[in-house]
Amino acid sequence: MTAPVGTLAELRAALEARRVSLRELVDAALARAQALEPKLHAFLGMRAERARAEAEASDARRAKGEVRGPLDGIPVAIKDNLVQRGEPTTCASRILEGFVSPYDATIVTRLQAAGAVIVGRTNLDEFAMGSSTENSAFGPSRNPWDTTRTPGGSSGGSAAAVAAGIVPLALGSDTGGSIRQPAACTGIVGMKPTYGRVSRYGLVAFASSLDQIGPFTRTAADAATALEVLCGHDPFDSTSLPEPVPQFSQALTGDVSGLVIGLPKEYFVAEGVDPAVLASVHAAVAELERAGAKTREVSLPHTKYGIACYYLIAPAEASSNLARYDGVRYGHRAKDAANLSDLYCRSRSEGFGPEVKRRILLGTYVLSAGYYDAYYRKAQQVRTLLRRDFEEALAGCDVIATPTTPEIAFRLGEKSGDPLRMYLSDVYTVSANLAGVPGVSIPCGFHDGMPIGLQLMGRTLDEATLLRVADTYQRRTDWHARRPPEPA
């Protein structure tokens, strides 16, 4: 078994000192992935041959003094809902059986232009619908801290791959918390940028108005480095923001003095949250106060409607987004269909798992004539109120701090029979998606040997401040430096 990989920053230092080659790095990542796969099931597919070739090309460039940037030659894993030309994309669903993409997601193009080497595709809940990866058609991923527990979801494979030291950077997608919640569950940094910061072109849509791609890293500094590559306007995504992308790394001054941290009272009620989680979050806020930040109570009064609102809008969009999986052009097609209707019904019945079906049904229902106004339109109105909540709260503070999840990572199987309980895993994270604001989860403590996450949310397009606060906290603490036990 190869040793866990270091942070991006550590790898860069090693590369610059020529202590390691990129080919060695990529080989190590592939070997470690393979060794841990039986225990973690973080991956749905590896890209070994191409990754090795790209690493060698990167080494050759480096030998000539050509380095494309901080990600050149770095092994990266991507969630298996991001398409790459010539590679399968499964979304952890049987419906995409046999599908190989003829085109690259914008994010893949950007990673490759920066020299990053994609080593594999990570596991997820089917079509990113879930909070545990238990909805993967190919079996759940496991938490490196305790393999009887979930790494969270839906980007659980990416989180596990970074937490287990397979890669220093993995990409996920976050529709209602699918980056931040698994980051909290596995003790790493997971960031959902502002909606529109990262192109969604080539991200297989779950809920288009909420989906956003973001990085998993061990440190906020690494997240800043990754975001400089990932963010930026894309003419192929109409919802992509045409705003300039700051040099996030330069925002990491380590100074938070005078910064105001808002503590939304609605997130700090004792009900439904593990006291150990609240205690760690309070301690983290106290640490930031010692660093010079101020705190104040703020209010996000419509928080209690967040989950309900989310579970109307996301399934509504999903029901439409997933209509293209019909067995006609690609993916799974039922055998010997009697007629068109039979082809649709059987292909989709066979191809989709139970949670996806549940959400398609829910979404179809709320968009139906006669129910649209009561559900979908109402949810959009509530969404406007939630967005306004954030605007008003963030007028009086610079960042908002909350727990990322109400509890530590739960045991596999613990909630899979109870969708409503599972949905509450996202209670603290869905609002950022509904409001479109950036959010990041960073490790801030442990309970029962499992990591706890601190969530920071900020103003639209102000990822820099979030990263500065997160980085300052990490300079003063070592939660992020702790490693899960090496599996026996």
């Binding site: 809902n81 991001l82 398409v83 994309t89 979304c91 995409l96 599908f99 993409s101 003829p102 085109y103 997601a105 969604r200 072109y201 080539g202 991200l203 297989v204 849509a205 809920a207 288009s208 108005s209 003419p235 192929f236 995504d237 109409s238 919802t239 509504a316 969009e317 029901s319 439409s320 997933l322 209509a323 293209r324 019909d326 006609v328 052009r329 690609y330 068109l340 649709y344 179809t364 968009l367 139906s368 004539a369 649209y372 979908y376």
Partner: protein, 487 residues
């Protein structure tokens, strides 16, 4: 039918789907082409591959603005694309991107010309809305292509369409047809569509209902889908009027339904009734931001809009001194109007050109079911032909006979006249001899003329003309005859 119309008033509203002549599709950079190999004019967006996203074609928006201004609509600076969800193999995403609650244009009108008792009259037809949407692909059930199954060609999927919805202001199949012709002419004038019905670029759905004369509430309507020729529109509406009248006469009610017209059998059949109508679950497309148009852009399009048929009509009256009626006929199509202007310029007497076009050229076109730009006749050739007449080098009759030939084969009129030996006869000897023969052969008519019956001269003239093969100048013949009879 007349009995039906005595008892019932027909109410018709039309929905027209028009392909916009953009180079690429509405939401992808795939080319818009006709007749390409199936599934070759496609991108990941047209195929609805996982992860693909729509990006709006700015040219299509400009065309929609043009169409809106040309039909006196309000063009909205803010409109929204929505998803219309339904499953069909030629609809790759499982939804069509369209506009629903907030279309780009609303509240317009156009005027159609109707034959009234006191001559032609104008009727204003309201336009409820114009919205932008993408076309679907094509399902192919032809055994040669699809074998025992069905095949899908997605080349057409995503081609930009305008849906133009009229108010229920039309009262007959003829009015419906006039509306469609006028609309097509306007859309061609502002250069947004070829509107070729045979290529499916201009398709119509007809909503038809009847109500007893004097009633104000509308009757139950049916919608006949996808009528792709003027003839089919008129036929399908006629059939539907008769069908509904029969039901109402029998005391039965019309059931709201969608019908399909079969040109082969000239019959309609029910596709679906309202009870099993689709629920399209419209909602704003989250992959697209609202379409926001700078009012300055709308003004720019307005300023640069090509001349509309109405404006051209008014200008033809004032600039060329044409009658209102002639000007309207010459502006029914942009091609015809352009032809007229070029011929008038080449010839110098617009009125004369107009007369020739309306009488001889249009007649010949009608007989051949051709549009002016589908012929070999050049504006300069028509002008040259008329100059030959003006210079008395060819008689009007001979010239008229040459028009069909110029339309079919083109060519230089002067050369054609020489080739056919149609030069006007100016040899007085020939005319004299013919006149003498005619007078000698018709002593009774000659006597009547001499007794003061002037009109009889025409009959004699006709005979002289015939003898000279129509090549003699009518004026010379008249003079000669009159001189000889009086003398």
């Amino acid at each position: 039918m007349s009995k039906v119309l005595e008892k019932y008033e027909v109410v018709i509203g039309l929905e027209v789907h028009v392909h916009l002549k953009t180079a690429s599709k509405l939401f992808s950079n795939a080319p818009v082409v006709y007749g390409a190999e199936p599934n070759h004019a496609v991108t990941p967006v047209c195929l609805a591959l996982p992860g693909s996203l729509p990006v709006l074609n700015a040219k299509a928006v400009e065309f929609a603005i043009r169409a809106g201004i040309a039909t006196h609509c309000e063009v909205h600076p803010h409109s929204v694309f929505a998803r219309k969800n339904y499953f069909y193999p030629d609809l790759p995403k499982g939804y069509q991107i369209s506009q629903y609650e907030e279309p780009i244009c609303t509240g317009g009108w156009l005027e159609i010309e109707l034959e009234g008792k006191g001559g032609p009259a104008l009727k204003r037809i309201g336009i409820t809305r114009i919205h932008m949407e993408e076309d679907a692909g094509k399902s192919i059930h032809d055994e040669a292509v699809a074998g025992t199954g069905s095949a899908v060609d997605l080349n057409r999927a995503g081609v930009p369409l305008l849906e133009i919805v009229s108010e229920p202001d039309l009262r007959s199949a003829a009015e419906a047809s006039a509306y469609l012709r006028t609309l097509r002419s306007i859309l061609r004038s502002v250069d947004v569509s070829e509107a070729d019905m045979e290529k499916g670029q201009f398709r119509c759905d007809a909503n038809v209902s009847l109500r007893r004369r004097g009633e104000t509430a509308f009757g139950t309507r049916t919608e006949t889908k996808n009528l792709n020729s003027f003839r089919f529109v008129e036929a399908a509406i006629g059939i539907e009027i008769e069908r509904q009248a029969k039901l109402l006469d029998a005391g039965q009610r019309v059931i709201q339904a969608t019908l399909l017209y079969d040109p082969g059998t000239n019959k309609t059949r029910v596709m679906r009734t309202k009870e099993n109508a689709d629920d399209y679950r419209y909602f704003p497309d989250p992959d697209l931001v609202p379409l926001v148009i700078d009012p300055a852009e709308i003004e720019r399009v307005r300023r640069e809009l090509p001349e509309l048929p109405d404006q051209k009509h008014a200008r033809f009256v004032s600039e060329y001194g044409l009658s209102d009626y002639d000007a309207r006929l010459l502006t029914t199509s942009r091609a015809l109007a352009d032809f007229f202007e070029r011929a008038a310029k080449a010839h110098g007497t617009p009125k004369s050109v107009a007369n020739w076009m309306l009488r001889d050229v249009l007649q010949a076109l009608k007989e051949r079911e051709l549009e002016i730009d589908q012929t070999k006749l050049e504006p300069g050739a028509l002008a040259a032909l008329l100059r030959l007449v003006d210079d008395a080098r060819v008689t009007a009759k001979s010239a008229r006979d040459l028009v069909p030939e110029l339309i079919e084969r083109g060519g230089d009129p002067a050369a054609l006249v020489r080739e056919r030996g149609l030069e006007a006869v100016s040899d007085t000897g020939v005319i004299d001899a013919a006149a003498d023969e005619v007078i000698a052969a018709n002593p009774e008519m000659a006597a009547r003329y001499r007794a003061g019956e002037d009109k009889i001269l025409n009959a004699l003239m006709g005979q002289v003309m015939k003898k000279t093969g129509g090549k003699a100048s009518p004026a010379a013949v008249q003079q000669t005859l009159a001189r000889k009879l009086r003398g």
